[in-house]
Assembly symmetry: C2
Homo-oligomer: 185 residues x 2
């Protein structure tokens, strides 16, 4: 599978890759093991520092790894990885090594121990910023501390989950830049 | 503009319209006035009861209306409303009546005082369920108490914000239902 050569990317602009609501792959590391989970329930929360919220079910093998390590990497895949995305979501890290099983390449992160996924076009290194609602709602609030994004594709064909095994693939881009007040851009 | 005839919709299934990450229009009512704001930072949080989180900036005219009334309606527009969406996001309810200004029809909700927007194909009536992170993060956690969705279009062309005045329009659907474990559907 294609690996993306990513570059440093401004933290201020990460919304460009997360606000559209794509399925992301969350990688983690804890006590010498790594894991990957799919995540569809997430949101931007702040520009600076860059905050991002994500829901993790307690039943996920990644839950304790991420809660204990207080770190993860949010990786954004495109539609060419659809079968890998589905396979990751339908298997458990308690039984398999997902990097090995799904032939994914673990890249070295700069600020966290969790690995980047080289086959994803964007990877965001995260440290846990607020765990207030982790016990009651499963809501982890992350500070993105380092961003890596491949310069192309410019408008990546991300996948967005509709439930029931169906995905929406990112379609055409539409600019209305001229209709925005400058302070709203 | 086209009004959608919506029907009752199972609360359990609202993720089908929200998890993909569309721009939504949030309508509110407080002390005899109504307002509408655009929202792109939001996420599903729970199936039953149906919980949904959304970020509202304190600078929005809707902020106090929603914080005080503890209610809102989350309406999902499609790409035919793109110019209305942009105009709503670039104007303030402190200066104009957005329903009147943008020729939108306020429908009667069942469980809340905030109006439905008839031109949106889906509307979700919400009551504030958790305000823990409202002061610090602007994060409102809503319980969706009533859902209305038009039976068509089946795969609506929602719009997803990329920042910088650019939108991604929902593209084709892709099913991988056959690759899911039954308990994961």
């Amino acid at each position: 599978m294609k690996r993306h050569a990513k570059r440093d990317y401004p933290l201020m602009d990460i919304r460009r890759h997360l606000e559209t609501g794509p399925i992301v792959l969350v990688s983690s590391a804890w006590r010498g093991k790594t894991n990957i989970m799919t995540m569809g329930w997430h949101m931007m929360l702040q520009f600076t520092p860059a905050l991002f919220g994500g829901y993790i079910w307690t039943g996920n093998h990644s839950y304790e790894m991420i809660r204990q390590s207080r770190q993860c990497v949010i990786n954004v895949p495109t539609v060419d990885l659809i079968d890998t995305i589905v396979a990751i979501g339908n298997s458990s890290g308690s039984e398999i090594d997902k990097f090995k099983e799904f032939d994914l390449s673990a890249g070295q992160a700069e600020r966290v121990k969790a690995p980047l996924i080289d086959e994803c076009y964007a990877s965001f290194e995260c440290e846990l910023a607020d765990d207030t609602l982790v016990p009651d709602k499963g809501l982890f609030i992350w500070q993105v501390v380092k961003a890596h994004v491949a310069p192309s594709p410019k408008n990546p064909k991300t996948v967005h989950y509709r439930g029931d095994g169906e995905f929406m693939v990112a379609g055409p881009s539409l600019s209305r830049r001229g209709s925005f007040k400058p302070e709203m851009l």
